[in-house]
């Protein structure tokens, strides 16, 4: 991977230049999304929850409980978009990967470059989101680095997984919307995002256990306001995210190369 690093930067450069042309939308979405959630759920639902349980959830106000989950979800969702769209475009729509692979680049480097550029987008989204959370008083200033890092990490790991998944899509018919409806949304709703996972019936809790968002949220709540988390649990969550991301990237690199030499 070390040898190919500079080459994947060239692919990332192309992706970033492409993203730059959509900067208006990326910024508007980056800001609008957190504000919308914070106002509607954080403050609206929060007022209701806090009125009914004066000690709050986990001993903190609802907004503070919610914030790390929203941040991780935003990171994961922006990784989803920034990996799946360019990958489908590269293989199926404008097929730029075919042109790239005719140069000295390898399929693996193209895969790395896509993930690298997505990382930049994830970092941007997470930083902006964190700032909005901070303005709304949902996070303390001291949480900036740990929260941004853990959310970004979750985003990148999800990105690696999506890289491998999208690399196999032969026909884009509905792939994007299926992913959003059947994976991203259920993950958002059932990962202990809006209430502790333990509130769900046991039969549904497994969704949380396999959900990278739940693992990222657990880590985030622990880092943000010291929610209880056993060290082994923190380790498992970290390892789970790493395995997902690294496994996805390694498989994705092979799938990209294979598909571009057929």
């Amino acid at each position: 991977m070390s040898i190919s690093a500079p080459a994947s930067l060239r692919v990332a450069e192309y992706r970033l230049r492409n993203m730059w042309r959509w900067r208006g939308g990326i910024i508007a979405f980056g800001l609008g999304n957190p504000i919308l959630y914070l106002v509607s759920i954080g403050i609206g639902v929060g007022a209701l929850v806090d009125a009914n349980s004066p000690s709050g959830i986990d001993g903190v106000p609802y907004l503070v409980f919610l914030a790390p989950a929203l941040l991780a979800a935003a990171a994961i969702q922006s990784a989803q978009d920034e990996v799946s769209f360019p990958t489908l475009a590269g293989f199926l729509w404008n097929k730029v990967f075919i042109g790239m692979r005719a140069t000295s680049l390898t399929g693996g480097q193209i895969a790395e470059g896509v993930l690298l550029a997505a990382t930049v987008r994830v970092v941007f989204t997470t930083v902006v989101y964190w700032l909005v959370l901070w303005v709304f008083g949902a996070v303390d200033a001291g949480t900036a680095l740990p929260l941004v890092l853990v959310s970004t990490f979750a985003g990148i790991c999800w990105g690696g997984f999506v890289l491998a998944l999208t690399a196999r899509v032969k026909d884009d018919g509905g792939y994007i919307s299926i992913m959003w409806r059947l994976v991203i949304m259920p993950m958002f709703l059932f990962s202990g995002t809006f209430y502790p996972l333990s509130t769900l019936p046991l039969a549904l809790q497994w969704i949380g256990w396999i959900s990278p968002l739940w693992h990222a949220t657990e880590l985030g709540r622990w880092l943000s306001y010291g929610a209880p988390l056993a060290p082994w649990q923190a380790l498992v969550s970290f390892a789970y995210l790493t395995a997902l991301g690294l496994g996805g990237l390694l498989l994705g690199r092979r799938l990209f190369e294979g598909r571009l030499t057929q």
Binding site: V11, N94, K95, G99, A102, T103, S104, L105
Partner: protein, 311 residues
Amino acid sequence: MPVIHARALTKAYPSASGEVLAVAGIDLDVSPGESFGILGANGAGKSTTMRMIGATLQRTSGELAILGRDPSREGPVIRAHLGVVPQQDTLDTELTVRENLLTYGRYFGLSRSQLRPRIEELLDFVQLQDKRDERVEALSGGMKRRLTIARSLVNDPSLLLLDEPTTGLDPQARHILWDRLYQLRETGVTLVLTTHYMDEAEQLCERLVVMDAGRIVAEGSPAELIRQYSSREVVEVRFGAQRNTEVLPQLQGIGDRVELLPDRILIYTATGEADLQEIVARGHMPITALVRRASLEDVFLRLTGRSLADE
């Protein structure tokens, strides 16, 4: 060291009914500076061969060395020295002409300062200076083709692979392109091209192979091939679609060989004018008649039983 060396090279694509053997064991040797052509009908295996040479398609079996290296192990190093004009343009249609060249150069790891003057040269070379800031979407087919050729040169390749570079171009654009390829040849670049156009092959290729159904059926310079597989002259006569078949048996003894095409009869001979007079003397007045020198078209027809001009 040959630029391209292939022995028993094959490519089988998986298909619904098992496999398609697109390239069925070919031998090739192309030396530095040569301009080499691959002629063949639709589906003969030209693009498949080109893509294996370009290290963008994994071969099924056989030996292949490009610039002395094995493409399945050293693809990136090989591709760094190749220029590729694929049959289908792979330009980035959302970018401008100049941005396409810049982006492509960056993929090779060339610096912006290296690329800036290079791009100007290339824009001049393919006469696209006035379109430099136009989005590729807005270019005509011929302009896109010229841009693809400019793009293939951005890394100063020592081997240029052109898969049907002029298909779809008008005659003027083709001649501009030929002229550019001549110039490149002078600089010592090795050219490998596939084409459907016999005149293109005669103009550009010092040596060529004829492919049919994945195999090489003949090889040589255009002149050698014509000498070997055709007579010196060809008489083309038309009697009208119905009558061609009726007249055919009555032309026995004229020329070395007679070929019946849907719309005309070809007579291969050394003495065209005399043979035409003989036809008329036997009482068959053609609607049109032509005596011409044999061309690669005739070689192709002889070897494959198909006329490329009809495709």
